[in-house]
Amino acid sequence: MKSLEADVVVIGGGSTGVGVVRDAAMRGYRAVLLERADLGQGTTARFHGLLHSGGRYVVSDPQSATECAEENAIVKRIQADAVEATGGFFVVTPGDDPGFADKFLAGAAATGVPAREIPVAEALRREPLLNPGILRAIEVEDGSVDGWQLVWGAARSAQAYGAEVLTYHKVVGIEREGDRVSAVLARDVKKGEDVRIDCGFVLNCAGPWAGQVAAFAGLHDVNVVAGRGIMVAMNHRLVNTVINRCVYPTDGDILVPVHTVSIIGTTDVKEDDPDVLAIPRAEVQQMLDAGEKLVPTFRNARALHAWAGARPLIKDDRVAATDTRHMSRGMAVLDHASRDGLKGMLTIGGGKLTTYRLMAEHIVDAMCDQLGDTERKCRTADEPVPGSESRKLYQVTHRLAEVEEERLTDPVICECELLRRSVLVKTMKEQPNATLDDIRRQTRLGMGPCQGGFCSTRAAGIAVAEKVVDAERATGLLRLFLKNRWIGLWPILAGDQVRQTALDHWIIQGIYDVEHLPQPEQEVVL
């Protein structure tokens, strides 16, 4: 068994966990982050892509609204390369109560969320596909955010401050000495090695899995309710501005332009197991119907991919456990010292990706309080993370400009997403143990219309050519990639994506016969 020592162990490598490890490291703690899979593979890979302006909560949850507005500005400042400042509209669609817009404007004023009503004609001029029947439009500062850019940026910042970020390390136990936490036991699932980290503090940031993690410390009543929501990415930027329905939060009321796609979402259904999240075809239909309310031609566009995430809501007894939408989305920090008599462990739940930095500040503050380190102040709000030093916000045209510049030297491996070979190879070499899916999340390999039909075999070939992996592993990774892409493909298969899928099958199975490649004794899963 490998042994490590740290002041604090952070469990979970979603947006919250990376924010926490960065914050702790910047305050001078020796911090280790443990994530059972890759960074941003839990809820953070399964969200809507919206950098909230706060608008969504001005009526239903004023505190969240204010927090979102403040953090929206901070994230743009410290993680510019992850954010596109698309702006957003709240629109009253035919049949919605126009009076809600007045409540909205009043709520915005009260919560400090910048908002201004604009003429419907202006909204339609800026977003020509928008429903021409909308009755009112309010402009806000919504943006879109790439969750993977965000977590990797924060993780690199934490590493620069000395933190260790250990992915594919699954926590399997938490040890206590008397009334204190003393160590975390983890399994390095890639190497098959056990790791023990002696530590004085554990911060449980395991999102919907936080209850499972708490149970490792003998705390069996941390009740995290998983509120499943699905999202569907459509093949185009149907809009360039985030479009929200101006109603009390409901299903399918937001359309977010992210990179090359626009994403409609979401639903809210209580689930028991955050690892098993269905994407029912009926819910996909519900999303397409909802999309038509905002953009009448919605069904003419092509659904590309779908995914489902689970909101990690810490159960609040004031509302029924089945009504996840109305539980506090605000963050909750559980202090297990006062709650359960266990010192050195805190759990955080709820919150949003937009407010990840503030969540981190809260939980690390609470740790400092317990440790009596009150002079260590949070410093995360101003310093840009590595990669965002220029403070230039992301633009969807970035890659096109780079491809044009490099066209004589750097081939495009994924045409849909304009991913250049050099970028792919750099990512692969930095993370030689990565799967092609890990690479995909960071580079958008295979995320476009062809969903990997043309680029997956190229990428597998390059991984071998660049000596990152051998042919056997590349073959396994290719198979895993195709299998994983299918998770989000079959639920939306319709329209032109059927045609694309047929072409992909002609290539992958018809020409390459991938299904009869030499098969490893065990499928590659990591």
Partner: protein, 392 residues
């Protein structure tokens, strides 16, 4: 006066059109795109898996379940059709005797069965050992992956096809038809090629059928072309050969035009409407061959709610609800892609003079069982013979 209008320019449409033109019919071929050969491996499959690997494709036809397109045709007719295609394009383009499938490496290193192959490929069948040479500027040929999966040596040559680094197989193949370029290529390959009984090269050895032989001769050792993803150079060779024969037999072609409608009367198709420059035009004919492809070409559509249809003639399909035939297992069969139109024994559906050929016909997931060209050609020849027989 046109005898037959053929819709579709893939293996099925081209075969039907050629067969009919050779028999003296006046044939007009209409197609909106370039056809399925461009997207294929450029060999002729009959049956590769059923579901285990098939050695003798004709013998295996008898074991297929009812509803499979081959079942109504029978092994003899399938053989005749495929041999007709082979003999028509000649042994510069297709070889094989159908007794046994060839088993040829794919570009990622799987061993793939096929019934007829191009002479530039067949050295790879049952070779005692291989070597691989890739081209740096050709991103679609994963040479190390191929070599790794075959357990052989690999080397690279550096030879751009043009100034921009991104070049398709087709661009390389066109360059290769220039003897100077081909010579440079062969010299570069000779300088690095590892040992091995058969040297595997990307399928870029000329759009013209004979180019590969020059390269092989210069190298002085057995070589084999390995097919890649579209645009498929070997596929283009077959396409070009069949199209040229069709034109030589007097056939006329309208390419790049979509058939947008039809006029029917008394259980027969009277004409199809083609969207050509200057407005729609009706093409009347005695018979129609409908070989428009399947899901991949957009001939069978699925709307956003999952309703499957054939929009042009409104032909009945074996299943109309996609929601009922898609599933979560990527590796399992996908019954959605077996959906299509059932025909009578003459190959007709819905109308007395509408004959179907190729992917539009229900009953097989072709890329899985490796049967696309065989079904296409066999159903095309059936359509042509039905038409010829009916009017003889």
């Amino acid at each position: 006066m046109i005898d037959v209008v053929v819709i579709g320019l893939g293996p099925a449409g081209l075969s039907a059109a050629l067969k009919l033109a050779e028999s003296g019919r006046t044939v007009k071929l209409v197609a909106k795109g370039e056809g399925g050969f461009q997207l294929s491996q450029g060999t002729v499959d009959i049956l590769g898996y059923s579901p285990e690997r098939v050695t003798s494709p004709l013998a295996a036809i008898s074991g297929l379940p009812g509803g499979h397109p081959y079942v109504g045709i029978g092994a003899d007719k399938v053989r005749d059709a495929v041999l007709w295609l082979r003999d028509t394009v000649g042994d510069e383009l297709l070889v094989g005797d159908l007794a046994e499938n060839y088993v040829l490496p794919t570009a990622v290193g799987a061993m793939r069965p096929t019934a007829l192959a191009q002479p530039s490929m067949v050295a790879a069948h049952q070779a005692s050992s291989y070597a691989v040479v890739g081209v740096r500027q050709l991103k679609d040929f994963p040479a190390e992956l191929l070599a790794g999966n075959l357990g052989c040596q690999v080397a690279w040559v550096d030879l751009p096809a043009r100034k921009e680094v991104d070049s398709s197989a087709h661009m390389f193949a066109r360059a290769m038809d220039d003897p100077g370029y081909a010579r440079r290529f062969a010299s570069a390959v000779a300088a690095v090629a590892p040992k091995g009984a058969v040297l595997l090269l990307p399928a870029i050895l000329g759009v013209k059928p004979g180019t590969w032989r020059r390269i092989s001769d210069q190298l002085g050792r057995p070589i084999a072309e390995v097919p890649m993803q579209p645009p498929s150079v070997p596929g283009i060779r077959l396409h070009d050969a069949l199209l040229a024969k069709f034109k030589a037999a007097g056939g006329r072609v309208i390419i790049g035009s979509r058939v947008v409608g039809c006029k029917t009367a008394g259980g027969r198709v009277a004409s199809v409407t083609v969207a050509v420059a200057g407005g729609p035009r009706d093409l009347r004919a005695s018979d129609f061959v409908f070989a428009p492809g399947g899901f991949a070409s957009g001939a069978i559509t699925v709307d956003s709610r999952g309703k499957i249809s054939e929009p042009l003639f409104g032909l009945p399909l074996t299943q109309t609800d996609a929601n009922a035939v898609v599933g979560p297992d990527y590796w399992a069969p996908h019954p959605l892609f077996e959906v299509g139109v059932e025909t009578d024994d003459a190959g007709r559906a819905k109308y007395d003079n509408l004959y179907l050929a190729g992917d539009i016909i229900a009953g097989a997931e072709r890329w899985r069982e490796k049967s696309g060209e065989g079904i296409a050609v066999a159903t095309a020849v059936r359509a042509a013979e039905s038409i010829m027989g009916g009017r003889a």
